[in-house]
């Protein structure tokens, strides 16, 4: 399947468009993408877009692409590659759009959808200890620190556990 289109107060969560692909490729070219395995060249970043679409086709869920007023601002949703023990709630907001609460807003909609529609949860988020903005998002979402996870390219990563229920 392809992603449904969901709405939060300010954001649209949905499938990839070529504008989303180009915005993601531009983001992956910068050091700002280090927490999702970047920087990556155009070819690898494009593969990242295709992998997101593939997760939807293969598992029936995956990352949503986020737009604010029609402009791509990032992606958020459930990331579950084959080798992981459990699905992860993950979010990325491009630097120009950070600091506005978009990640929290999108991740909450995606989490509620995953819980209510897929019966998943309580979901985990794996966050690099150096990624302070993302740690604040996890805290705002009510996630609690559970312990260390496998390091990401030598950087320590912590496992955050989200609450079990759909937010009121």
């Amino acid at each position: 399947m392809t992603p449904p289109v969901l709405h939060s107060q300010r954001l649209t969560l949905g499938p990839a468009s070529s504008a989303h692909a180009e915005a993601f490729i531009a983001f992956c070219a910068t050091e700002d993408s280090r927490f999702i395995g970047g920087p990556a060249d155009r070819r690898d970043a494009w593969e990242g877009v295709a992998i997101s679409a593939g997760l939807w086709a293969l598992r029936g869920f995956g990352p949503f692409w986020l737009s604010a007023g029609g402009v791509p601002v990032g992606r958020a949703g459930v990331y579950y590659p084959d080798w992981r023990a459990e699905p992860e709630l993950a979010w990325t907001i491009y630097p120009a759009y950070q600091g506005r609460g978009y990640a929290t807003e999108a991740a909450l909609v995606a989490r509620d959808w995953a819980y209510a529609t897929l019966g998943l949860g309580p979901l985990v988020s794996l966050i690099d200890t150096g990624n302070a903005p993302s740690i604040r998002v996890a805290q705002k979402l009510g996630a609690v620190l559970e312990g260390p996870h496998e390091p990401n390219g030598g950087h320590p990563v912590m496992r955050w556990r989200h609450p079990a229920g759909v937010a009121a």
């Binding site: 499938p15 990839a16 593969e47 679409a53 593939g54 086709a57 293969l58 590659p81 084959d82």
Partner: protein, 171 residues
Amino acid sequence: MMAPTLTTARLVLRPVQMADFSAYRDFMLSDRARYMGGPYDLAGAWGLFCHDAGLWALAGHGGLAVETKDGQTVGVVGINAGPLFPETELGWMLYEGHEGQGYATEAAGVLRDWAFGSRGLTTLVSYVFPANHASAAVARRLGARLDPQAARQADSEDDLVFRHVPGDGQP
């Protein structure tokens, strides 16, 4: 679009599923993947697998698993595009033990016919490593011709490029 299901005399080409990953991964991690830029690691194999499955939603074409009529998965054929390829590409791979029976030609042929028919594409290429004689033979059996002028992938200047056009493979 959703991936279609196509059938031939002996084969069913169907959407890729999670259960296909173990055989796909074993292929991509093995020396058999040397003609496809491999061998790959687990993350590389997973990326290609998801790419095959996800490209349908992004490009309206992608990869299909190839199954015999008794339900055995023998490989994957696909139509690829994007920054990974200079042109839209028809590719095929067979898992170990399923070579020599014409499966690649039969599967790639029906996918090519779908591409030029319902999908409305007007040309396709197949990139083949010069040492991959089996794959070059498949391209020739499909009626494709070498196109020395075609663009190569940046890191693969020695690739043979076979060009497919509508009408190939028809008497």
